[in-house]
Amino acid sequence: MDFGSTFFYKYRRFVKALKIYLILAGPGLIVMLADNDAGGITTYTVTGATYGYGLIWFLLLLLPVAFVVQEMTVRLGAVTKRGHAEAIFDAFGSFWGWFSFLDLTLVNWLTLITEFIGMTAAMSIFHIPPIFTIAIVSVVMLLMVLQGRYWTWEKIAIVFAVLNLIYIPAAFLVHPSIGDVLGQGLIPHFPGGFNSTLFFFLMANIGTTIAPWMIFFQQSAVVDKGMKEKDIPFGQLDTLIGSAFTVIVAIFVVVVTGTVLYGMQIDSAAQAATIMMGINPWLGTFVAIGLFDAGFLGAICISLSSSWAFGEVFGWAHSLNLKIREAPWFYACYLFAILTAGAVVLIPDAPLVLITLFVQVIAVTLLPAALVFLILLLNNEEIMGKYKNTLAQNIAGIVIVAVIIVLSTLFGISTLFPGLFGG
């Protein structure tokens, strides 16, 4: 074959592979960008305000961490055709099944409240009352699932996921010094020395990287999408691209806040957006939209992960490809979660800060179990066949899971006892 024919052949192959990827892309991209939810954005905002660009190198390390864990859910979902909740019941029995399911339901509901807190706080910057925000968000979330096709839901979710990239143009608005970002950000070091406050921030950033709902969500989404074993490489690529995007967004949040708010005492992303609105209205608007979108992405994924888990455990029909009359309990769970979480945010003097802290504590009761079950399931030849973990995957998986368990547990404990690590 001459050069022209070879080039054309390779080009056609690439286009075909790209088309297949675009059809199969979704769960990995959505779950990873939804990982930058309202709580995640708050963590990155405070990190940037406290340490400037000094911890960007640490955020880069989160890419393999997120990828290694979430990639396992792709294989497990594609091979077993079961969600994570059902897989735990089936493999480990009803005790661990109920524990995981009830813990997931509780932590998801509490996290959903924090997403609504983030969305209402972001919209308050534009003087939109919380009740309007919650009402409109609830209606949009319902319409997204009621159209009756997983594919359509996924493509709408991807649009919102792409909006998460709004922090990139926001970073160009603040004109950061590229030399400073690269010089201070990319060389691993501990700004101000390794002390208890820095340790708290490292724990918080790791803690936001993997949440229990992400494991349950992606596996159920892979099943609902109908991915098969042959689609695993595309699912892995999707997860890798999603992991890269989640880290890119995190870095740009840090660049924005590290440039504008460095050295200021910042407690939340909404407070940061309000301050930025006074500095540059466009910047404040971008950051507020980013916070709202982060909360919205988190909310649509978390509420779905609960509904899927309910369907799997109770044996109800549970698919976005089904109409309401075909899967009434699935949609009822979804609606119930949205309405009750939204209602809590509207309760006057509700202990919202306490709820936000409580989420971090409850999450660490479930995350280690979910991660350990993931590793055990992926090592079972009877379940996984030729798709079981290789030695290299096990070494990477076990090391990462161990680090996540230790750091997220310490983070949860430090939330309970704030003086312990200085945070």
Binding site: A91, G93, S94, W96, G97, G315, V364, P368, T409
Partner: protein, 72 residues
């Protein structure tokens, strides 16, 4: 024998009975873990139980100190 319908009324009672029946059915279906209980699996599950017990004790301690005038 006291029936649940006598306490909650027939409508609510039958709903509760339906749910408890469903939960019993799930417990029966998943009574035996399907995964092969190798030493590694047993050890991992034991560690998880120990971890959870310690965490619950810690939560209990925090709750106790909060009652004693502390607070998160």
């Amino acid at each position: 024998m006291i029936r649940i319908e006598h306490i909650f009324g027939s409508r609510v009672g039958s709903i509760i009975r339906g749910w408890t029946g469903k939960i019993s059915e799930i417990n029966r279906r998943y009574a035996t873990p399907k995964i092969q209980m190798s030493r590694g699996v047993k050890f991992a599950l034991l560690m998880l139980r120990v971890y959870l017990v310690l965490l619950v004790l810690l939560l209990g301690y925090k709750f106790w100190t909060m009652l004693g005038g502390g607070g998160i």
